[in-house]
């Protein structure tokens, strides 16, 4: 039969599917977004890479800059410094977040909602703010500086403390997701077989969350090693890669060396990113559809032990925020502690004044609106368009690139790319649009993955049905896909807004006097010694981000109640 089939099959005409007008629209839009990503991430990365091989006059000098880097101890020691503080942070945060997540998911500890909320506080602030708070706590005039036993907060101790605070919610979120993937049946089986609690922990709990732990480790690693705000404020003379880039570019105007350090910083970030993607892929198949969610049982010893643990962590998190708030209202630290709004008179300081704050709001709003529209449309086309496999695969890859690129590297890459004299897009340099473009791109990947997850939950045949009914895809997109995915769309826009408010690293190279931003103002005021106003500006960001989160929660609830009446049975 095989032979017969082959001959007749050869006789039948090969069919080349007709590409409809709609398909062309989808491909064009998809290519448009891919082109955006090409311009906003790939080409700038190329620009910074090639810059690292050139001298100040733009002449190709091969590896000379790298040789220079590795023969200057002050520079390459930063690698060791960066890795040291990063690894210490990873161990501390992953351990603490693991226990915290365990308490929230696997025990009957009281006040779970409160502790979950408290743990997410650091997301609302730029990493500069906890560092400033540490200065008030442990600095030369700090209220509890004796607690450091004579050691200085400026240096590795301060960096580790600040980073631990800053990355805690990110690591915790991953841990919570990993812990939520629990199958009660395994615990029942373990119980029925007479295994002890300890044994169950090592044979059931740990294996089921191991990918989550590894993933959390890599995320923590990337966040810490690429963070710029904490070491900028409390790093002192302890140089790390992130602050080196800033110093080379802003301090010494040595752009080539800035490019070299950027490339050096990109390597561990790329490695951690690749490792994390690998692990994530394995995580998927862990939970079968038939799994039964685990219901923790009461155990007074464990529950109150965990309450004490979370209480301590929560207290530290709140204290650091409260310290910053207090510092921003204290009239003249530490001599006159009466409360006033003096430090909120930003016009009196350098850094852009209140305009910086309004610029930040404007930038965050544009980022949220444009970013959400682009990310969701792009994810939809990648997921739901037909044929065109090469284009979709390329787009998928492009969407993942931003996650691997540290903000400082991205920002500096923009300087090289958009400020090049022969770039026709040069007019964007030093404008609001370039800040928006940079921020959308910087946070593209996580938003894209959120959108993809939501889209994957939709019935795969919505598009087939509308095609059979001859309804164009864009009508179905606006009438069905967007409304059904509205919760995820709101999540993405809130994520983009809050991150646009708090980000420093990428935009620090890109703002102009007219487009100063609140987060950058914190940096500049802190640099100028106006620490209290810096804290005050930080509190403005925290307040705004918190307000946006509240509005988001209200909107989500409202929309779920009104337009998503169908969710209720």
């Amino acid at each position: 039969m095989a032979n017969g089939t082959a001959t007749t099959a050869n006789a039948a005409p090969l069919i080349k599917p007709k590409v409809s007008g709609e398909d062309w629209i989808m491909r064009a839009v998809l290519m448009g977004i891919a082109l955006y990503l090409l311009i906003s991430i790939v080409l700038p990365l190329y620009a910074i890479l090639s810059k690292s091989f050139k001298n100040a006059d733009g002449v190709f000098v091969g590896l000379a800059n790298y040789v220079n880097f590795f023969s200057t101890p002050a520079l390459f020691w930063s690698i060791q410094n960066s890795l040291t503080v990063t690894l210490i942070c990873c161990v501390i945060v992953v351990t603490l977040a693991f226990i915290y997540a365990y308490a929230l998911t696997r025990t009957c500890m009281p006040l779970k909602g409160l502790f979950k909320g408290v743990a997410l506080l650091p997301i609302l602030m730029p990493s500069l703010l906890p560092a400033i708070s540490l200065v008030y706590l442990f600095g030369n005039q700090g209220i509890i500086k004796e607690w450091l036993f004579g050691y200085e907060i400026y240096g590795p101790i301060g960096i580790v403390m600040g980073e631990c605070f800053y990355v805690f919610p990110h690591v915790l979120t991953i841990m919570l997701i990993a812990m939520a993937n629990s199958d009660a049946r395994l615990y029942e089986a373990s119980d029925a077989l007479g295994a002890s609690k300890i044994k169950t922990f090592f044979t059931v709990t740990l294996p089921s969350v191991r990918y989550g732990v590894v993933s959390a480790f890599f995320v923590c690693f990337t966040l810490v090693i690429t963070d710029f705000g904490v070491p900028k404020v409390v790093g002192g003379k302890y140089n790390v890669l992130a602050t080196d880039i800033y110093k080379q570019v802003v301090g010494r105007q040595d752009f080539e060396m800035g490019a070299v350090v950027s490339m050096v910083l990109l390597l561990p970030a790329l490695f951690a990113f690749a490792a994390d993607r690998l692990v994530q892929r394995k995580q998927v198949a862990l939970l079968s559809a038939r799994a039964v969610p685990y219901q923790p049982k009461k155990n007074a010893g464990v529950d109150y032990g965990m309450l004490a643990f979370c209480g301590v962590i929560g207290f530290i998190l709140v204290s650091i925020l409260a310290m910053a708030a207090y510092a921003s209202f204290a009239t003249f630290w530490p001599y006159n502690l009466s409360l006033s709004l003096k430090h909120y008179a930003f016009e009196m300081m350098d850094g852009g004044g209140w305009d910086a704050y309004y610029n930040s709001i404007e930038m965050a709003a544009w980022t949220a609106v444009i970013g959400t529209a682009m990310v969701f449309t792009g994810a939809y086309l990648v997921e739901k368009s037909k044929g065109f496999h090469t284009g979709r695969a390329a787009m998928q890859l492009l969407c993942m690139v931003p996650m691997a690129v540290p903000g400082l590297v991205l920002g500096l890459a923009y300087v090289f790319f958009f400020n090049a004299p022969d770039n026709p897009l040069g007019f964007l340099y030093h404008t609001m649009p370039i800040l928006v473009i940079c921020t959308v791109t910087h946070f593209y990947t996580v938003s894209h993955l959120t959108a993809v997850t939501a889209l994957k939950q939709l019935d795969a045949e919505f598009e087939s049905v509308s095609q059979s009914l001859k309804v164009p895809f864009y009508k179905t997109f606006f009438r069905i896909t967007v409304p059904v995915c509205m919760p995820a769309i709101l999540d993405i826009s809130m994520y983009l807004f809050v991150n646009a408010m708090t980000t420093v690293s990428a935009v620090v190279f890109l703002y102009s006097p007219d487009t100063a931003l609140a987060s950058v103002a914190i940096l500049n005021m802190d640099d100028a010694g106006d620490v209290a106003p810096a804290a005050a500006m930080g509190m403005m960001i925290v307040g705004t981000a918190a307000a946006v989160r509240l509005v988001h929660a209200g909107l989500t609830r409202g929309i779920l109640g009104r337009t998503q009446a169908w969710r209720k049975r």
Binding site: T5, S464, R479, R569
Partner: protein
């Protein structure tokens, strides 16, 4: 419908579908007449859904042509074809009410609001959901959702209705009820319909003709009666209903000897020489059982096990003669009573030639 020459409404010719190196459909050719209800039946992975999706244009075939109402639609995207489709998941739009779901395809055709309402009401009436017009899909039972999906597919009066396992997500009772309903509806509208299913009972109950598929090829096309009574291959015999496969040997004089029984079946033996090994197939309910002593063609069998299956009993029997392999016999409840069937009893079994089918052992299958 379009006035075409006598030919079939849907013509599938030499369709081949490859997914990378894997060939999902080998050289499929098929005609479907206008108004006919055809079922694609086969085990999972046999290519039945692939063939349906090729006909719909959702996954266009690698080679071969599809013609509908005289129009070559081989390369056309779904929105340039003329069909309505119901998926296993129904794919109802969760944020639209039943009414809006059904009207979805109509609203895009520049129809007047009133005309749309009339049509939607007509369809709601047709599928018996008049009272649920303003509910959301999640508020309906599985069977009701299925009917909404059907109404939505029929709303634009397509020439062809495609049903992809439309009943398999439902409870057994609802399924049986709905299959009558769908069949009645189809006959009433007279729409040409293709349904994919892996449930042979469903196919037998609903289809005018069944296309049995396996490994990407068509094993047999025929009416339910033909498929059941005259399966073209051991696969079909095995897949549809239950069949005994008994090893036999061709003997001189147009007979076959199997498990000690001799079957007169000269007509089925064309081209087979005495001594050739064959497979004898017979349905359990077609084995003839009599009480007591040996007849000419029969053989004594012992009942080793009885399964009570409600309206009939399935007996596992073993021939008394050495080497005879066990096989199955179905007896209606009354017949079983009459014969006082119980385990350990020996009865006389014979293979009536009119119910026996002889196959050459499949090479390498």
């Amino acid at each position: 419908m379009t006035d075409t020459d006598k030919g079939a409404y849907l013509k599938v010719r030499n369709v081949l579908k490859k997914f990378g190196e894997f060939t999902a459909l080998h050289d499929i050719s098929l005609d479907v007449a206008e108004g006919e209800f055809v079922c694609f039946l086969g085990p999972s992975g046999c290519g039945k859904t692939t063939l349906l999706r090729a006909i719909a244009g959702l996954d266009i075939q690698t080679a071969g042509t599809v013609e509908q109402a005289g129009r070559d639609i081989s390369a056309l995207p779904p929105n340039e074809r003329d069909f309505g489709i119901v998926f296993q998941s129904y794919a109802l739009f969760p944020n639209l009410t039943v009414k809006k779901n059904i009207a979805y395809g109509l609203e895009n055709r520049k129809m007047a609001r009133a005309a749309i309402d009339t049509r939607v009401f007509e369809l709601l009436d047709l599928v018996g959901l008049k009272d649920h017009a303003n509910k959301y899909p999640a508020q309906l039972s599985g069977g009701q959702q299925q009917r909404v999906a059907l109404a939505r597919a029929l709303a634009t009066s397509p020439g062809l209705l495609l049903l992809d396992e439309p009943l398999s997500a439902l409870d057994a009772k609802v399924r049986i009820h709905l299959r009558h309903e769908i069949k009645e509806l189809q006959e009433k509208i007279g729409i040409t319909t293709i349904m994919v299913t892996h449930d042979q009972e469903e196919a037998l109950a609903m289809a005018d003709r069944i296309v049995v598929m396996n490994h990407g090829v068509i094993e047999q096309v025929g009416t339910p009666e033909e498929i059941y009574a005259e399966p073209a291959s051991p696969f079909v015999a095995d897949f549809i209903g239950t069949t005994n496969f008994i090893d036999g040997e061709v003997q001189a004089g147009g007979t076959v000897k199997a498990a000690g029984m001799v079957v007169e079946c000269a007509s089925a033996l064309d081209g087979m020489a005495p001594g050739e090994k064959v497979t004898v197939c017979i349905r359990p309910e077609d084995v003839k059982i009599t009480e007591g002593s040996d007849g000419d063609a029969g053989v004594a069998v012992e009942i080793t096990d009885i399964e009570f299956l409600g309206s009939f009993q399935r007996c596992h029997v073993k021939p008394r003669n050495a080497g005879g392999k066990a096989f199955l016999i179905d007896l209606s409840a009354s017949r079983a009573r009459a014969l006082a069937i119980k385990e350990g009893v020996t009865v006389q079994a014979a293979l009536p030639p009119e119910f026996v089918r002889i196959y050459r052992p499949a090479a390498g299958a």
